[in-house]
Amino acid sequence: MSLDREFADDGKELTIFLEEKFDFGKVQDFRMAYSEGCEGVTSIIINLQKTEYMDSSALGMLLNMHKSLSDSVTSFKITHCRPQVLKILQIARFSKKFNIV
């Protein structure tokens, strides 16, 4: 099942909504969500409002996205983190690559 996403600002801003579990099972869906029909996107927002569980492969997937899009995308944001997810991102020091708000 593909992930929900939303384009804004004339297609320059893409928001991807993750589900309850963000782990290796999402690898395909997540890659599709940021690679299909995303020409012209310069800002990516990862919305983790629903996400209650996240593992290290999810961190890997985020890094992968960052690396593959860093030529065209200038802003990477992670938003609406629940406390337990925020803690993982803090331990992993993801603020060095992502704007966590």
């Binding site: 290290s56 890997g60 331990i91 020091r93």
Partner: protein, 304 residues
């Protein structure tokens, strides 16, 4: 499609073989009684059997289970051709191991359709059997390979016995191969280094990175390098080796020869806790860096 026709009546056999030919089944064999049928089945390994019930020597009811046994794990369809029409006899055809029945005089269209249907199931069963065989083969091969790798890993990554009096440790991995790593090494100045880490993901793929890390760690420990240099080198090695979505969260710790000074580099691991003599937590050392294998050298911070 090889079909065995078993009937003691010449004319019946002729009719059946002729009908099969018309349907395009030309690979047919005939047996005039149960005994001959079993001998023949052993030799030719039929894909389907048309079996008469009433025969001298072994009758159809006795032959069916024996034929099934010969076929082993692959489904061998047996269709009874019988003149009997009472429910009991027909039910018995299925009870002894038959798969279907047609009453004499047989209807060509129905019999041909039944043969095709059972042939499909036979094919499916053959496929499953082959796949099972392959699966078993692969499973054995993988088990053998895992044993070899496990052997190498235990030799390369086990904690040196000379440290065990200083250390109580517990590694509780979810599977045989995993990305969890705990390695210890002496420093040339009389202290020691240790490294606790965890690779992204599970299983063999995540464990593979442990070898180069361990080699680099041992070499650098012998030279007495600083934690900064260690972290930088391991980061560089992993950056080169690991795919983009894989990394290694790790804490590297150096304890000097007095045991009173501790340096810690923590990248992506939960806080390390320092306990006082009473067991109270005196200090927490939180992660201050991203895990190893993510950042390019120029972005990488080595601050201890």
């Amino acid at each position: 499609m090889r079909i065995l026709v078993v009937d003691d009546d010449n004319l019946n056999r002729f009719l059946l073989v002729h009908m099969l030919e018309q349907q395009g089944y030309t690979d047919t064999f005939e047996a005039e009684d149960g005994k001959v049928a079993l001998e023949l089945a052993k030799r030719i390994q039929p894909d389907l059997v048309l079996l008469d019930v009433v025969m001298p020597e072994l009758d159809g009811y006795e032959v069916a289970p024996k034929l099934k046994k010969l076929a082993g794990d692959i489904y061998l369809p047996i269709i009874f051709i019988t003149a009997m029409e009472d429910e009991k006899s027909l039910a018995r055809c299925l009870e002894v191991g038959g798969d279907d029945f047609v009453t004499k005089p047989f209807d060509k269209v129905i019999l041909a359709a039944k043969i095709r249907a059972h042939a499909r199931t036979r094919l499916l069963s053959k496929k499953t059997f082959e796949q099972n065989k392959q699966l078993t083969f692969y499973r054995n091969a993988i088990e053998r390979e895992h044993k070899i790798v496990e052997h190498i890993f235990t030799n390369a990554l086990s904690v040196d016995k000379s440290f065990t009096r200083y250390l109580d440790y517990c590694l509780n991995p979810a599977s045989d191969f995993n990305g969890d790593l705990f390695i210890v090494s002496a420093s040339p100045t009389g202290g020691m280094y240790f490294l606790i880490g965890d690779f992204t993901g599970h299983g063999l793929a995540s464990a593979i990175g442990a070898l180069p890390v361990s080699q680099a760690f041992q070499t650098m420990s012998r030279k007495g390098l600083s934690l900064m240099e260690m972290a930088e080198t391991i980061n560089q090695t992993l950056l080169m080796l690991l795919p983009d979505d894989m990394f290694f969260a790790a804490a590297i710790v150096e304890i000097n020869n007095t045991g009173k000074q501790i340096d810690i580099w923590n990248g992506g691991m939960p806080s390390l806790l320092l306990q006082g003599p009473s067991g109270k937590i005196v200090k927490r050392f939180a992660s201050r860096h991203m895990a190893l294998g993510i950042l390019e050298s120029h972005e990488f911070e080595t601050e201890v």
